[in-house]
Assembly symmetry: C2
C-alpha cells in the first residue's frame, strides 16, 4: 500500500508530520510518500534512522497555509502539497491521502480541483472519529455543508455506516440523528424529513438522539447538518478543555489539594488517554473519489500516525467502492 502524507499540513509542519510518517512506516512497513518542500522534508528526515523504511519524497513548491482562504488557495496554489498529493491518488500512483492542513483547503482541493466527488454523491461530508470512555463514534457532517437537504443527510448516513464497518470495526453500526429530543416529532423541518428517509433506508437507524446519549456512547454514527455538527463537536471540545483547566487551577490553589493532585496524576493521565483525539487521528472526507483523511492541525506525531492508520483501514476496507455501491442500495429503497 502507498499512502501520501501532506508534509506541510500541521500547524508545526513538517516536524510532527514527518515524525508521524516515520512511526507509521516502522509499524506497518507501507510505502509513505511525503509531499511538500523537498529540502525541508529531507532535513527533517535526516534526524531519523530510516534503515529498512519505505519513505519517499515528492516535491511540491506551494503550501496552503492555515489562514489561507480555501477557495483562493485551492485556485491559486496549484503546486501545493495538497494538489500534488491528491493527484498522486487520482492517477493511481498512491492509495490514500492524509493531511493535517487547512480543512477547507483539503475539502476544496479534493472536491473541485483533484479527486472530485464519487458519481451520484450530492455533497461530500467532513467526518471526525471521536474517542469516548465507552468506545468511539464517527460524526458527520461537521462543517463542509452548513446548508443541507434531507437527501444529503441520507447519503451522509450511508457513508458513515460504510466507514464505521470498514474502519471502526462495527458489525452493525447504530446510526443516530443529532436532535433536541428523541421523539420523531422533534427537530427542525430538515430533521423531520431526514428522519423519514432514514427510517426506511437499509441502515440500523436508531432514531433521534440527544447529546447526553451520544456522549454516553449509544451511537456509532452520528448524522447532522454541517452547522449543528460543527457546533456539537466544538462544544464537546471546548467544554472538556474548560473543565480540565478549571480542575487543574483549583487543584493548584492550595498545598493540600496540590499534593492530592500529584498523587492522582496517573488517573488524569488515564482520563486523557481514554479521550485523546490523537489516538484516533482525525476523520475522513467522505464522498470524494479517493481516501482522504484529515488530522487536527494541532496534532502530534501520534496523531499523524493514527491518521495514517485510519487511511490504511479505509483502503483495506475498500471504503470508496463500498460507498459507490451503497449509493445504488439507498436509491433503490
Amino acid at each position: 500500500m502507498k499512502i501520501v502524507l501532506d508534509a506541510m499540513g500541521s500547524d508545526n509542519y513538517p516536524t510532527p508530520d514527518v515524525a508521524g510518517a516515520v512511526q507509521a512506516a516502522r509499524e506497518w512497513r507501507d510505502e509513505i510518500i511525503l509531499v511538500g518542500r523537498e529540502p525541508l522534508i529531507r532535513e527533517e528526515l535526516s534526524r531519523f534512522d530510516l534503515e529498512g523504511l519505505n519513505l519517499n519524497v515528492v516535491h511540491a513548491a506551494d503550501v496552503i497555509e492555515m489562514d489561507d482562504d480555501p477557495a483562493w488557495a485551492a485556485r491559486e496554489k496549484k503546486n501545493s502539497s495538497m494538489h500534488v498529493g491528491m493527484n498522486l491518488v487520482k492517477n493511481g500512483e498512491a492509495d490514500a491521502f492524509v493531511s493535517a492542513g487547512n480543512t477547507g483547503g483539503v475539502l476544496t482541493v479534493a472536491t473541485l480541483h483533484t479527486l472530485r466527488r464519487i458519481q451520484g454523491i450530492k455533497r461530500p461530508a467532513l467526518a471526525i472519529v471521536i474517542p469516548l470512555p465507552a468506545g468511539r463514534f464517527i460524526a458527520l457532517d461537521i462543517g463542509a455543508n452548513v446548508e443541507c437537504r434531507p437527501e444529503f443527510l441520507l447519503q451522509f448516513a450511508m457513508m458513515g455506516d460504510v466507514y464505521a464497518r470498514a474502519v471502526l470495526g462495527c458489525a452493525n453500526p447504530r446510526v443516530a440523528l443529532l436532535s433536541n429530543g428523541e421523539e420523531p416529532s422533534k427537530g427542525n423541518s430538515l430533521l423531520k424529513e431526514t428522519y423519514k428517509l432514514l427510517d426506511t433506508a437499509p441502515l440500523n437507524f436508531i432514531g433521534n438522539m440527544e447529546p447526553k446519549e451520544i456522549v454516553a456512547g449509544q451511537a456509532d454514527v452520528l448524522i447532522a447538518d454541517g452547522f449543528s455538527g460543527n457546533v456539537f463537536i466544538k462544544t464537546m471540545e471546548a467544554t472538556a478543555k474548560m473543565l480540565s483547566g478549571l480542575i487543574l487551577d483549583e487543584i493548584k490553589a492550595s498545598p493540600v489539594t496540590a499534593i492530592g493532585g500529584l498523587l492522582a496524576k496517573p488517573a488524569f493521565g488515564r482520563v486523557a488517554r481514554r479521550i485523546d483525539p490523537f489516538e484516533v487521528g482525525g476523520g475522513p472526507l467522505l464522498g470524494v473519489d479517493g481516501v482522504v483523511i484529515i488530522a487536527h492541525g494541532r496534532t502530534n506525531a501520534l496523531g499523524i500516525k493514527s491518521a495514517i492508520g485510519q487511511a490504511r483501514n479505509a483502503v483495506q476496507g475498500d471504503v470508496v467502492n463500498t460507498i459507490r455501491d451503497g449509493l445504488a442500495d439507498i436509491s433503490k429503497e
Copy 2:
C-alpha cells in the same frame, strides 16, 4: 413584592420547591405564594419554623407532570398549578412566576393560555443563565423555537440584552451569535441574515462566536435558534458530566490515586460550585407579558431559591416593560 412558586414543579415536588421557598422567604422577606395541592404543601410547610415569614398557599387541583404532552396538558389541565399561578401574575395579584416543572408546559400555558406574548413580540424565547469560571452568560433561544427567522433572533438579542442588564448586572452586554466560525460569512443563511440585522441594531453586537470563546466567557448574551441553542447547552452539560464521571472512575481505580483524590476533594468541590447550575437557578421565558423563571426539573432547594432570586431581580429591573420599550427601539433602526 409577591412571587408565585409552582409548588408542584420539580421532579421531587413539593419537597425541594417548598424548602427553596422557605429559604427565599427567610432571605428576602418577600411574600411567596405557593400554588398546588394545598394539603401536600401544608404538610411540607409543617416541617419548617415559619415564624415571621410571609408564605401563603393557593390551591390548584391539577398537576402538569414532567412526562405530560405540553399542548395536551395545557389545554386539559386548566386547574394546574401553572395555570392558577400564572393567572395570579396576569391579574396583578403577584409580580412573578417561578416553576421547575415541565418546560414545554410552562411555555404553552404562558404563551397560549394565560400571560400571552408582549404585543409585538414574534416568538417568546426560552433562556438559561449558565455559570462559567469566568462569570456567567445568558443563552437564548434554547428550545422554544426550532425554526427561526432572522427577525426572531433580533428580538431574542434585544430581550437577552435587557435581561443581562437588569438581572445579571452587565453594564453593556456583549451580544454574540452562536456560529461555526467568527467571520460574518460563516454560518447558515439564517445566521448570515441575522448578522446583518444585529450589526445595525442598537446593541453591543460583537459578531459570530465559536463554542471555545463562549465557554471562555467572552459573551454575555448568546443568541441562537432554538435547535442549535438546545444542542449547544445540552452538549456542554453532557460533556461536563461525562468528563466528571470519567475522572472519578479513574481516581477510584487505584489506591494511590484514590488517596490523591481524597486530598484533592476540596478542589473538586470548588470546581463544582463555580459551575453549579443551581447557583443561578435556571432561566427566564422571555417575551411573555409577565416575569416567568423556569428552574431545572432536577433542582434542589438552592436552585429554587436562586430562581426566586432571579425573579426578584427581573421584577426590580422591570424586565417586561423594558422589553416592551426595546421593541420600539429595534423597530426604529
